[in-house]
């Protein structure tokens, strides 16, 4: 019965979404208060239905109900409870349900926190969100129903893909989806504004916290995913420019541009059509990402098996959502009106340049991701685009962004003078050069390639500018707004991140060794000794663990750590998995994973030395923290309805 109840709840949710979309949008167009008033209760109703559906599916997984096709395919009675629960979204159908549920959650949040917005505007936003969710629910019900029965029931399930049986996988997809789907709010705000023909500072201010929260989730989701790849895939890499990674990175890049563009639109009323386009673009790329992952048009390590009817359906959805919004944009862009004028040297200009560069960098990633598809579609052969392309193209595009991004906050809005700016900047330049020199010296001059020095210089430049900015701001009078701190933290976080990336890339060392018990290997000044190996049984796998001692010297005097990597074979799928063991440090990680077991207890052991890799995650954490602090800014909670065209929040 549980499955049928869930199925029914899903159908009701679809109907509610349709009603919500039609009544709210038509009501707003006709200024019919009664019709518009249905939007809020409808949001709650669809959310309730989806929560119910979610609980039903989770219950089937927890109970190991193998008469459910989905449960039989993606869980087993041996699967630990926590992975039975998270297994709900470890598959195509369940992850789409998660998509829909989180969209519904965002809709309810908008319904809850939009009491101060004009009724027609709220109705349009909720209407657009309802329409999007109706599309996804239809997709679920017609092509990917998670509630299908399997008759006769299976005796045992296939178990969850072992790659997904990991704590990182518990939180990575929900975070990522909250981010993806969160951009739908900024999108709905933009579309509502287009439909209403109302663009003002207030609109930008309403959009900003939503965009910030979505960006926060997406940042966290990408960072967790990257961390998961780092310790779970067993070769110490953290970013592979895989199409699915790119699919999450592109909305992030464009979302970053959107955040900044919204700031300009709010403060100066400028870049309106640009901001609207970015809001549409960020969510469109989220949808495109979903399409790429779910349709199998690109090869990827994340590829779930897929069938073409699903791909066609999502493509239709893509055309409906993006096509309609871009058409509305094209028809209404002319009425958006220009913003305030600004001089060539102004904060407006620096933000505009950065925005354009971010958009171009996003396009470069998009091109690289879809290039194999283009070439294949044109019948020009098969090829793949790998990290060399992305590194060669993306880095030069994003480097100027990083140079400019810290100049922006020093420049005044509207217009500034070069002389005033230079008075500040020479100190920053000096600080950056000194800091980069010190960093290079710490790494040992011989190890620093020109590219690595470029990375160090960038990190030093941002750090130095951040220090100068902080110093200036602390000396200036007035309370510092949370928004400012958010900006500062996120920018500084990027410096930390770049430093981490640069040092990991130039100073990381790897060694694959055949090792017998008692044998030792050396890497980056550490000595690794294979102490012993022993088999053991886990709940749904059998495994070997090896104890590897890591010494700081080759005399085996100073023990650093005893690492215990594992090699598991999961029963249901006979799939081998490696569980890396990592000694995590502030300045470096020492990383050990097991490869193949050869005859008579000899192992292929994979050793990695990763300097400053923790800084990479710390940088992401700082960026996320920056977004969190900015969201908490008081002015987003102010009661007063601001009048258009005033830069009220200075």
């Amino acid at each position: 019965m549980t499955l049928e109840l869930g199925h029914f709840a899903l159908i009701v949710a679809l109907l509610v979404c349709c009603v919500q979309a039609v009544l709210a949008l038509v009501g707003a167009q006709r200024a019919h208060a009664g019709m518009m008033a249905t939007a809020r209760p409808a949001s709650w109703a669809q959310f309730g239905c989806l929560v119910l559906a979610w609980c039903c599916l989770t219950w089937a997984f927890v109970q190991s109900d193998f008469s459910s096709l989905l449960v039989a395919q993606h869980s087993s009675s041996q699967t630990p409870l926590i992975y039975r629960i998270t297994g709900v979204w470890g598959n195509h159908e369940g992850s789409l349900l998660l998509w829909s549920l989180s969209l519904s959650g965002w809709t309810v949040a908008v319904a809850l926190f939009s009491r101060r917005l004009p009724q027609a505007f709220t109705a349009r936003v909720l209407g657009v969100l309802g329409a999007i969710n109706a599309g996804f629910l239809a997709f679920l019900l017609f092509t990917s129903n998670p509630f299908l029965r399997l008759l006769p029931p299976a005796l045992e399930g296939h178990d969850l893909n072992p790659l997904l049986q990991d704590p990182g996988m518990i939180i990575h997809p929900p975070l990522l989806y909250m981010g993806y789907v969160g951009f739908s709010v900024a999108f709905a705000f933009a579309l509502a504004a287009l439909l209403a023909g109302r663009f003002d500072a207030a609109w930008a201010r309403w959009s900003r916290p939503w965009t910030l929260v979505a960006w926060l989730f997406l940042t966290a989701g990408i960072a967790v995913g990257s961390g998961w790849a780092y310790y779970e895939l067993g070769w110490g890499g953290w970013w592979f420019w895989d199409p699915v990674e790119n699919a999450s990175f592109m909305p992030w890049l464009l979302g970053t541009a959107l955040l900044h563009s919204l700031a300009v639109t709010e403060k100066r009323g400028a870049f309106r059509s640009w901001t609207v386009l970015l809001a549409i673009g960020a969510f469109s790329l989220s949808l495109l990402g979903t399409f790429l992952v779910r349709s199998g048009v690109v090869t990827s390590v994340h590829a779930f098996a897929s069938d073409p009817s699903r791909g066609l359906f999502i493509l239709g959805l893509l055309v409906a959502v993006i096509g309609v919004s871009l058409t509305v944009f094209a028809l209404r862009a002319g009425s958006l009106g220009g913003g305030g004028r600004f001089a060539l040297l102004s904060r407006d200009t620096s933000l505009l340049i950065n925005n354009v560069l971010l958009a171009v960098a996003t396009s470069a990633v998009l091109l690289g991701t879809l290039y194999p598809l283009f070439i294949d579609a044109l019948g020009m052969g098969k090829l793949s685009v790998g990290p060399p392309y992305f590194e060669a193209v993306f880095v030069p595009l994003i480097a100027p962004v990083m140079v400019l991004m810290v100049i922006g906050p020093f420049v005044r809005w509207k217009s500034d003078t070069a002389r005033r700016l230079l008075r500040t900047l020479w100190l920053v330049v000096l600080g950056a050069l000194v800091l980069a020199g010190v960093l290079a010296a710490c790494m040992g001059m011989d190890n620093v390639s020109p590219a690595a020095f470029g990375g160090l210089l960038l990190a030093a430049w941002i750090a130095s500018a951040s220090a100068q900015l902080l110093w200036q701001r602390l000396r200036a009078p007035g309370r510092i707004a949370a928004g400012w701190w958010g900006m500062w933290l996120a920018h500084f976080g990027l410096a930390v991140f770049i430093l981490g990336v640069t040092v990991v890339k130039s100073g990381g060392q790897d060694l694959d060794m055949r090792m017998r018990v008692g044998q030792q290997a050396e890497l980056a000044g550490y000595t690794f000794v294979l102490l012993d190996e022993k088999p053991y049984r886990g709940p749904n796998y059998t495994a070997f663990t090896a104890r590897i001692a890591v010494y700081l010297d080759d005399q085996r005097q100073h023990l650093l750590a005893e690492l215990v990597p594992e090699k598991r074979i999961y029963h249901a799928r006979q799939m081998p998995m490696t569980e890396a063991a990592i000694d995590i440090g502030i300045l470096r990680d020492v990383y050990v994973s097991l490869g193949e077991r050869l005859e008579d207890g000899e192992w292929v052991v994979s050793l990695h030395y990763r300097p400053l890799i923790s800084w990479l995650w710390a940088g992401c954490a700082l960026m996320g923290l920056g977004a969190l602090v900015a969201v908490l800014d008081r002015r987003y909670r102010r009661q007063r309805s601001p009048s258009p065209q005033t830069g009220a929040a200075a």
């Binding site: 690109v298 493509l315 094209a330 862009a333 283009f374 294949d376 098969k382």
Partner: protein, 182 residues
């Protein structure tokens, strides 16, 4: 107020072009890689045999019958997955299977066959991978279906499975054998 500039349609136009490509992309399988060698004569070679280094093997010796050339290595995990299928298939004696031991050690290869069973009529040793280059091998296992004229008719990338043999290989073989009557 309501002026519509053609420039505003640019994002829509770009998107529509993208949609066309995505729609075509849906019909393609990115994993299916063509081989330029299909319907071409199998590249000739002369290689020592595994276990009998004095004897050599050349594809010419197989003229007049359909056969499979299976590229494998004891280092290759997917080959291990494929092996039981090959052993079972060889027992049915549908067509001869020749192994091409690719970039492998002599002892490791011999030991592997001893442990897991030997489905091959014989195995040619391509220790340095030179012949693999001629055949466009970029990962083991790969299996070539070669006809009685010595023409490569199909290439399977990745492990053969019982389903693949049943649903793809055998029909192809039947087709090759059918018109041979007149």
């Amino acid at each position: 107020m309501k002026k519509i500039s053609p420039r505003a349609f640019l994002p829509l136009a770009i998107f529509l072009v993208l949609v066309v490509f995505l729609a075509i992309g849906l019909r393609l399988n990115p994993r299916e890689l063509p081989s330029t060698l299909i319907d071409q004569p199998a590249p000739d070679f002369l290689l020592p045999q595994l276990g009998q280094p004095n004897q050599t093997f050349s594809p010419r010796a197989m003229r007049g019958q359909e056969w499979l050339l299976n590229v494998w290595g004891s280092w290759c995990v997917a080959c291990g997955q494929e092996h039981p299928t090959l052993v079972a298939f060889a027992r049915q004696q549908v067509l001869p299977i020749v192994g091409l031991n690719y970039k492998d050690g002599h002892e490791a290869a011999t030991d592997w066959l001893k442990r897991l069973g030997d489905p091959y009529q014989l195995t040619a040793v391509d220790a340095d991978g030179r012949i693999g280059i001629d055949y466009g091998v970029y990962g083991a296992p790969e299996t070539f279906l070669i006809d009685r004229e010595g023409i490569i008719r199909h290439k399977y990338i990745g492990p053969l499975t019982p389903e693949l043999i049943e649903q793809d290989l055998l029909p192809r073989l039947q087709q090759l054998r059918a018109p041979a009557a007149p």
